[in-house]
Symmetry: C2
Subunit: 357 residues, 2 copies
């Protein structure tokens, strides 16, 4: 039994006593204890692939802050790694693939991995974390979106202009569609396996959807997230498993994102939460959207920004739900004590909001 | 007298025979002739500061392509350089300032430069280019927005998270407002001096407005562009001087941008032009918005994307106007011959659109 299910209720647009909060990348480099565990693991990938250490870092932020959810510690690129593309991390350069997809032959060889075989270490981590959490807060599972995975798979790493994958998009859309169809199946299987292993909510990170042109976004990112949605388990062990879709830079497309049938939409800080709520209506809850850079200001300034964010959503009423989060992952340079100010302000002010209405 | 005023008429929402086109950063590193002139100048800054060479590179793309406007070749950071911050370019690192604004004392010393003294080289370039153009097409003058200049002035260079300037924004908004007020006056004076020197339209590049949170954008970027608008010359020598405001990533705020009284709004490729047209109505023309990465595809694919972009705007009718452009500056790696395909497709298809209605 969950001791705190506020997060799940907000995602399902049920009443909550306060606005639940968690932070994207909450287990990460801004925490000295994370850096110590990572050092012990030897590398980021070792940390991801060791269920005990992944569990340890997943729980670290919960011991510091009164967060309302835990998120599986893992990498966004586990799927293409399981597909055999050879994920590695060059020092100071971010993720790279030894064998990026460039030719028709590369694409023809691509196959959907079995999450309980090639990605068993992720499912082991989910099971270990669920045991260690012991019902404290719900555990979120996650995956990159089919398009976001394809960006890395075709580019062979990060990119600031997505030239290679977009050239494929405009010149050989057939190849890209084939990659995306395989990715969509792989993501659906992966998230369903996480749900079976114990994930109590799942999130799709469409980190690079906002790099696409209007029109291309719908065809090359959203359509494949819809395919994932259609195959996603909505219940497990008698519990509803809510899902969240987050397209960074996707504020113009919220109505269309709501149309794919997700429970909640993540939004970045360029979005006005009140307007977003009016646009998606009672179809979805919203998650977001404080500017992560506001955490570099003083606790008093952080409190002001938290209040402004909660007020822009307004008091959650019947059929609406808000999960507080940043609009993007927390910066590695964030002072850890500022996160306490954020979490306290969310809980305090959101209780006051409800008391006033 | 202008031989081709299609661009100006589209900005003023007057009928045109076809959709005019120019490209942000059209004089630049993708052209071998530009690289030759730059080499001759010795450095990028020398090129900006030499009116004859700046004129030469401004005209280079017009000799290759049937573009409908020329844009002054200059740097976005001439104003803070004229304020004494010490602009320099570290090899492969982009622009930097020797003396960024960090303290109250730094900000207290900031003053509005006289564009006809400290920025005289820019006005000389405008006059030289106007002479060399001899009425072929209109000349666009430009400036960075007050906020975008402030980003560089406070960060001391480019940034991927704007941590320093945003910390000032959240912690010391008074300091940032002082910088922005001075920048707004400097930008207004600078653009008015360009108009007096011969610029026939002006554009404000708010390249980093889209990095701001909703709410902060309105207070820290849009409000200061409005101050510029209020002081901007709208006529010179009996001619209307239209202006364009371009906030990259500003698609959510188009109605509010239209409210500051600009003639045209630049939009990036995430925006649907038809929806944007419905949102701003007859208040403003639109400029944009092809994904610059589509220029890496084949000429046939480029033509298809151009047609899609023109069709998304629809046929310009009374009170509407469309200037074709990319949604951001052209990439330095673009094959120059692909730009011919783009320009031809815009002209051909937009004439066909008009013939069909």
């Amino acid at each position: 039994m969950l001791k705190n299910d506020t997060f799940l209720r907000a995602l399902l647009r049920q009443p909550t006593e306060y606005t639940p909060v968690w932070l994207m990348r909450q287990a990460g480099r801004y925490l000295p204890e994370y850096n110590a565990t990572r050092k012990q693991a030897g590398s980021f990938l070792n940390l991801c692939k060791n269920p005990e250490l992944a569990c340890e870092v997943t729980l670290q932020p919960l011991d510091r802050y009164a967060l309302d959810a835990a998120i599986l510690f893992s990498d966004i690129l586990t799927i293409p790694d399981a597909m055999g593309l050879g994920l590695y991390f060059a020092e100071g350069e971010g993720p790279k693939f030894e064998r990026p997809l460039r030719t028709e032959a590369d694409v023809a060889q691509l196959a959907v991995p079995d999450p309980n075989v090639e990605l068993r270490y992720v499912m082991d981590a989910v099971r270990t974390i669920r045991g260690a959490l012991d019902g404290r807060v719900p555990l979120i599972g996650f995956s990159g979106s089919p398009w976001t995975l394809a960006c890395y798979m075709v580019e062979g790493g990060g990119s600031d202009d997505f030239r290679t994958v977009k050239t494929m998009l405009y010149d050989r859309p057939d190849l890209l569609h084939r990659i995306l169809a395989i990715n969509a199946q792989a993501v659906a299987n992966y998230l369903n396996a996480q749900i079976e292993a114990g994930a109590q909510a799942v999130m799709i990170f469409d980190s690079w959807g906002g790099a696409l042109a209007d029109g291309a976004y719908q065809k090359f990112s959203l359509a494949y997230m819809q395919q994932v949605m259609q195959q996603l388990k909505r219940e497990h062990d008698g519990q509803r498993i809510p899902n969240i879709v987050f397209t960074k830079g996707g504020g113009l497309w919220l109505e269309q994102i709501a149309d794919i049938g997700c429970d909640a939409i993540g939004v970045d800080w360029t979005v006005n939460l009140g307007q977003a709520r009016a646009r998606v209506g009672a179809r979805c809850a919203l998650q977001g959207n404080l500017d992560p850079m506001s955490l570099f200001a003083s606790p008093a300034a952080i409190e002001k920004e938290v209040k402004r964010t909660l007020d822009s959503f307004g008091t959650p009423a019947a059929g609406s739900g808000h999960v507080f989060n940043l609009g993007h992952g927390i910066s590695q340079f964030t002072p850890p004590e500022h996160v306490s100010a954020l979490v306290e302000a969310v809980h305090t002010h959101s209780r006051m909001q409800r008391a006033q209405t």
